[in-house]
Symmetry: D2
Subunit: 343 residues, 4 copies
């Protein structure tokens, strides 16, 4: 950390800061500049120190020099983390496609979709059983019966399953039925839930919070990793900005930055990011070109009858066309689509 003094600070003010630092077990090195003095803090700092120093007299502000995250940083682990789920390798040289309905609605809807996305070459099946909805008056998902349907679909198609968990009390139950635990955007800073999935041995798909800085997203990953679970994927799904023409703002620059700063795999969710089926194909290709290790796509047999998020769901022919285009673009950037598992 660097303590920046006010212009009005005098030598005794600088000395007082250094004395306080020593009291706290650090060393301080003063540099007297043209306009003002600064003090470099020597030692293994902790985040709170910033506030503790900012309240001292004649201190202007305190600058952080290091990233607040450790375990998710490439400075600690330079090489990419690869996560393996029932034979699917996420984070390596190949691109992975996760697809399925936003929400599990019925056996027929799920099984039809699961078969179709498997047929088109998807690697993972997505589907929501517990849905966090903005309004309490909206459909909240099927719950446990939804999990059972997902397990049935996995049985038939061989696709590993990713589904959201919203309550720390449900982690064990959801982990029993599925292969990847999804943390949704509204729970990106639900720390008890992060810790609970961190104590599970299931890989986690961690969606970025609607208002999370890239740094905070990595800190949320850190909550999971520090509990012992290192199998975390970062999922960019759009942030909230002033723009209302799209549902959210798809921050592919933020995703590329996360990949540069962290060794964890990054997955892109163009369906929730744009909220508009017509924008999903171009944004899917963009995400692959930007370096995503995978995509997660909403697909529905009849988007016009979907209970949730119909406007952003692809129908089967559009998904098929997207897979063809994705295959070409992924190869063009030397991260070909991963071949689906033979069942």
């Amino acid at each position: 950390m660097i303590v920046v003094m006010k212009q009005s600070a005098r030598r005794p003010d600088v000395d007082a800061v250094i004395a306080r630092l020593q009291e706290l077990g650090f060393d301080g090195q003063a540099i007297v500049g043209a306009e003002r003095s600064v003090i470099a803090v020597i030692g293994q700092v902790y985040p709170e120190l910033q506030g503790e120093l900012e309240v001292l007299p004649e201190v202007h502000h305190v600058l952080r020099v290091s990233s607040p995250y450790k375990m998710s940083s490439r400075e600690v682990k330079p090489d990419d983390t690869i996560i393996e789920v029932r034979g699917v390798r996420i984070g390596g040289a190949e691109t992975v496609i996760m697809a399925g309905p936003c929400t599990v609605e019925s056996e027929k809807q799920l099984m039809t979709t699961a078969r179709e996305v498997a047929r088109q070459g998807a690697n993972v099946l997505r589907g929501g059983a517990f849905k966090p909805r903005t309004s309490p008056h909206s459909f909240q998902g099927l719950g446990k019966p939804g999990l059972e349907l997902l397990a049935m679909a996995r049985e038939e198609t061989g696709l590993p399953v990713v589904t959201e968990v919203v309550d720390p009390r449900d982690v064990e139950l959801v982990a029993e039925y599925t292969d990847i635990l999804q943390i949704g955007t509204r729970n990106a800073q639900n720390f008890p839930l992060l810790q609970e999935v961190g104590r599970s041995n299931r890989p986690v798909l961690l969606k970025r919070g609607l208002n999370s800085l890239v740094d905070e997203w990595l800190l949320s990953a850190e909550y999971i990793i520090t509990q012992g679970n290192r199998q975390v994927m970062l999922c960019e799904r759009g942030i909230r900005t002033f723009e209302t023409g799209t549902r959210n703002t798809f921050d592919l620059g933020g995703m590329a930055l996360a990949k540069e700063l962290s060794h964890l795999p990054v997955i892109a969710d163009p369906s929730h990011a744009t909220g508009k089926a017509s924008l999903v194909p171009p944004m899917s290709l963009a995400a692959i070109a930007a370096g995503a290790n995978g995509l997660i796509i909403d697909v529905h047999p009849e988007p016009e009858h979907a209970l949730i998020d119909g406007p952003q769901s692809l129908d089967f022919p559009t998904f098929e066309a997207l897979m063809t285009a994705a295959r070409t673009v992924a190869s063009a950037v030397n991260r070909p689509l991963q071949a689906p598992i033979a069942v």
Copy 2:
């Protein structure tokens, strides 16, 4: 709802929408305009209907006509809700002051502060025992021993206590020790937690999410109310915007709008909104002038030694000066500070 057709839509497209509406149990009334046609949906609509209609052919978009919330709306209950907590009336003609340390650190720190804020006329004691921290490496609060200290402080000062709960599994425990359950900004859309406090009989201080629209804030309140707990206070504590000069952007306009739309009391938290002690007094007075039913303020005996949020905490002399100024401004707008309870 209003279905807006594309300019290219023809009569059969309009008829198809109306047929679909009738299939779903609604009526549709077409209006042929100069540029395009629109269809008014007649009947008791549900939020999902919007998406179901937007995917129909030749539909441009669908506009919502009504607010999505009901129980928290003034259209349903025009008169102000007043919440009573151990003799303190929140939401009525008088302004209430909640104050105390951001975090309970020790018996001495809490008791000193509790006595001082009581002496200055605060009505409620605040203090955090469970702290949601962005980094897992930061101090997470004292937990249960913190709750016990809060109960001890209440015993001595007579002030009711507000403290945060972050885990649905802790609601019962926290409710046992405190008078008001606080839902923090990161949990504003943690729906299992909202439902759990909705099943408690304790009043709830619901902080606005960093990225919550006013409408979504009221929907979060709705989650609590629909479980049977109508004692909800809305707390504006700053939203996240591009401005980084202040910790958050204190949205007093959004607070005033919430008060106009909803019958629930509104509380302002200038400490977390600005993150800077020097801005807390002017913003406190601004909040009172804007119509806040109460303030919640971070106070610490030695901000320079606070474990959390020292830079935004007021020391005792500054808090005393603020109380004097607040008293004058609150009287000037005819919502005088509520007299503290005699112990």
Copy 3:
């Protein structure tokens, strides 16, 4: 500036940065920390240096230590700037009210409003002749005839006049007719226009850009001041955020911060900030309580017939009630409303 090296940097990398600094006429002082090294730059830096250093090998990033603005900073001039306009003192111990129609529509509309706001005690008359409109299909203001009407209203009421200028080629013309030149939010970074008003001898009301950081707002003021015109008022009128319930987000915290950092007077515009007449009175009082040196308010004889911004304009009875309340609150915070000039 502080150069933060990567963790992988070695001594020769640090030496290379110091050598480059010396080449550029600076000194560099290395501090070897627990995790990484940093280098303090000694000398009178310029903003571009940051980029020049960030591209050097093994540099992680470069931190700015000082504010980029000088002339508008309290570090350069600690005492408040007071601007005098035809006997009205802006920036001193008293609060000033500017009021009038958003747009000059007709002689009758302007004169009626001017007389009324004068009668209620306003100090300055506002009114737009050149209007920057988002759509080219919208009414663009009366232009020069509008200026003539404003001059006529000043003649009769004695109130100095503030009006917007949108084109550098119009500055001379507008300055001829009015007392204060307003720079609108869309022109907050229109640097040729800022420089042109900087070469005029008229006081300037500088609205904050919809997306301006407080720092950038002060830099825009700096553009005017460096041309020789020190009579700049900062006007907070709302920033653009994700919230759509209000027209903009009224950032009173940012206004208070600007007042803390700068010696220039701050004026608040609750009309444009909220876009909603019902929110203007509470936000006006809030702005006064937050320390605004003045308010600027849209008033219209018949808001329901206003050509522009009717929904945010106060009618006469509401403005009268607001003036009464403002008088009380301004006195309560010891910055009473300035008595209007006797004509």
Copy 4:
């Protein structure tokens, strides 16, 4: 437009709105719903009408049904606009690369860069002569001598030139020397400047405002088109959001939406959007995959000595590698890079 009445509205309130509409030359059709009544406005509405209706008694709010822009909309002109500049076709089946230094610094710097980008296959040369800088203390560009250098570079390489104009008084001068006039992000709503370039016969590269909605971006284009100049390209260069890890947030979803709504070509500027050279290649490929008609890239012979925006400039080897990758991805999405003009 649709007028949404309050729940408390009665029949006479509805009738009053319809009477007012008829007074203004419209028709109104009332629809009585379950919860409230709405009134459809029949006739050719203008944007101001919304405000005029929102102030009527018992009106809740007024919804706009049509887009506010016309000339830039696909509803008016469904087929893509193609702009031809000295043999380069922008907006057609091929992807165009614009590249060059952010700022013209010297003859040597410009000529070296121009030759290199031409050699690598760029189609257009970019370079700034008039620079809008946030601080008045920063380098403002070479001005007219910069334009002369650009013309010289065009002479030698045959590449058409794009450069920014910041002052309406300079449009004629800049148009004399260059082929494409660039409107920068800070001038996206500088209406006199937009109108001036609209009166020129040069194609315009219109950057999106830092805080422009897609709708407002198209309205800025409308300002140019309504003056007679239909040769407008839309350039996405990042918007301002809460994220600070990248310089701006590159909104490729907004770009794709603009392309869907408008017939104008879309160009992507990953250099300014990310502000970080390491993110420019992945974001360039992403933009092509998302459907951009072209890219505009900062290239500098020695980024570490650039006067402006060095951290985001590519050096020659990186640009060469990017061109190779771009060629592959552009072909993969069937919009191959346009062959450079033979000189």
